[in-house]
């Protein structure tokens, strides 16, 4: 990503005004790799990025081991991570009530001051009841807990309708809004909980690595307009793929 920035600069100075945008500069792999080698990155910076990721996502043991091996200091007290992770784990396993009780033990003001989060947790609770086939309970719950949320805040009505609609269908998994029953929905709620707890502890809720990846993708997209170069298409392998002409 740093390299593609450098190339963009080079291109700007080389291209004469008369050559139109349709001509793309070609960068061979040799040249690209050489330029890559010239870019210096500090190990400490890398370590801090990794630590920041582990700590924000809540991998306590990994963070601790990493701290011992690399000497990098975590930017949160690792002890506070355990509580947060228990809440996250509860949501991810579908034990929403447990999660709510744990959050309230951790900090009773979080749910009182995050109506959207509270609503999503209750929505998740309803989803879990539907998933478990406990339709009676689900109906009661929808009436007693979800409907009031809609009364308190109209913005939630659409989501409530979607969720309650699940009760109407026999084959819940394949109905419209069936994606609410996916594990991904649990993960979404868990992530929201994680962010709220981090914010209440005055910590940034997002790790920095994803932002860096976004920058990389953006930079490549920009460079695509001006050059053909070895591109990273697979972000898990980060392999350079030769430019096609």
């Amino acid at each position: 990503m740093f390299l593609s920035r450098i190339v963009l600069r080079d291109l700007d100075s080389i291209d004469s005004p008369t050559s139109m945008a349709s001509s793309k500069k070609m960068v061979t792999r040799d040249v690209w790799e050489r330029k890559l080698r010239d870019v210096k990155i500090r190990k400490e910076d890398m370590n801090r990025l990794v630590m920041n990721f582990l700590v924000t996502e809540g991998y306590v043991d990994a963070a601790d081991k990493f701290r011992v091996e690399s000497g990098t200091q975590p930017d949160i007290d690792l002890a506070t991570i355990t509580d947060r992770m228990e809440v996250k784990r509860a949501v991810q396993s579908g034990n929403v009530q447990e999660a709510i009780e744990k959050i309230n033990d951790l900090n009773p003001t979080i749910l009182d001051t995050n109506p959207q989060l509270y609503f999503h947790l209750q929505q998740q609770k309803l989803i879990e009841l539907i998933r478990a086939g406990k339709i009676n309970e689900a109906l009661e719950f929808a009436q007693e807990e979800l409907a009031p949320r809609g009364e308190e805040n109209q913005a939630f009505l659409e989501e409530i309708e979607k969720t309650v609609a699940l009760l109407v269908f026999e084959d819940v998994k394949n109905c419209p809004y069936g994606e609410l029953l996916d594990v991904s929905q649990r993960l979404k709620t868990a992530s929201e909980v994680n962010a709220a707890i981090l914010t209440s502890q005055s910590h940034e809720k997002d790790p920095k690595l994803p932002s860096l990846l976004k920058m990389l993708i953006w930079t490549q997209n920009q460079l695509d307009e001006k050059a053909a170069y070895p591109r990273i298409n697979n972000f898990s392998t980060a392999a350079l793929e030769d430019p096609s002409i």
Binding site: N95, Q97, I100, P108, D112, T113, Y118, E137, A138
Partner: protein, 500 residues
Amino acid sequence: MPATASGGARPEKAMPAPSASTSCMGTRPEELTARLASAGAGGGEVERERVRALREIKNQIIGNRTKKLLYLRLGAVPAVVAALAEPGASTAALVQAAAAAGSFACGVDDGARAVLDAGAAGHLTRLLAHPDEKDRQIKTKLILVLLELMEEPGHVGDEAPLALTTLIKDSLELQKQALTTNAVEKLSNHLLANSLETRRAVTILFALSELCSKLEESRSQLMSVQVSTLILDALKHDCEDIRVAACSCLKNISRSPKVAALGVICNIAVNLTPRKSVLLHSGVVSQLVHLSKSMDPTLRLKSVWALRNIMFLSSPKDKDFIMKELTLSTLSSLICDSEHFVQEQTLALVHNLVDGYLDSTNYVIGEDGMVIDAISRQLNNASAPGVCIQGMFVLANIAAGNELNKEAVINVLVPRLKPSFVVKFLQSKDKQLRVATLWCILNLIYPKCESASSRVVRLQSAGVILQVRNMINDPCLDCKVLRVRMVLEHCLDNSDDCFM
């Protein structure tokens, strides 16, 4: 009904609220409320049950406005608040009760009122005095709750900061707790984001004042540029309540002996010209005067510096006020302070004192000339250049006054029984000193009159006139200009070619 629902009639009576962790005691609000109202603190299982009930209520109401209103109607609040005062209550019960009470007050006006009506403030205050480590959690949570309450519209939000003030009053321990919750920052931010014209602004200012009464760290947090500007605005506000509250803030800040706070007051004073009168009567001046007598030379320096800035462009009435607090004898001692940087600042203060108003020179030459004697002493003692420069500026300003003033100054420059330091100053490498001295001399020989001529004679006999003549090639432009003025003053009808 969908086919997946269990068919047949369902009983009409109420069913337990669905909960993954339904406890055997039941979770209906009516039941819980009744249970809590009848239970007192006990031992073992009884207490555990009480804790469970409180916790269940807490978990039902947090985030849930509808449930809060329901419990309110059921009259649960008095029982919850009473749990805070239950003698022999376990820490667990207190924690749950506090969290529940806090939640009732959050986001629901009636809830907040009910909590306060039930006497929560008193119980909370007592709890906060509790030295128990575990109770520190409660204290911090309570402070957090009050800070949240401050965001609520209406009466609740207006009074929350006052409740906070009461809670932390005179308690270093609690102010430390408040630090950990970023209370100063939150209160300041709210103040900055909203109009000063409100009751809430007044209560917040008082809360800030109390928060900063004992802790240096809180005070430095308060003195950010934006907040200090805001407090200054509050000092001149039309509404008296706001002015009073702002003064209270300022008074607590200026209580600090630390150098940093002084530096800030100093800087405030520089920017203050239209609002000075308000600052003056906030008690800052007497604090600064007190600090100017400190054992610590840095404190003396900074306090004198602040006074210097306050003195700048002050009205005669304000100068009078300051000098009454400072006193001439203190001023004289400061001029002869052991540290030259204090001497210099003091003389700069005197410079600002005599600047602009004729009567102010009385401070310097009045009272048997206490102050001017001190200045003379310093000028004669081969003091640091900065001191001499400031001293000469003072004398130059005085020499711009009436005959009495000029005579007083010439007696310093050319004393009857001592050699004069003037020539030495005119030969100084420091151009500022040369300029200041030339100014002084010019003021002594202008305007032309008999007394002026006799002063010229005195200067001449001290070799001053000769020295000025020799400064024809002085590299400093200001010196050249002053010298030319003196030539013009005296060349016209003076047959003496002493200047040519």
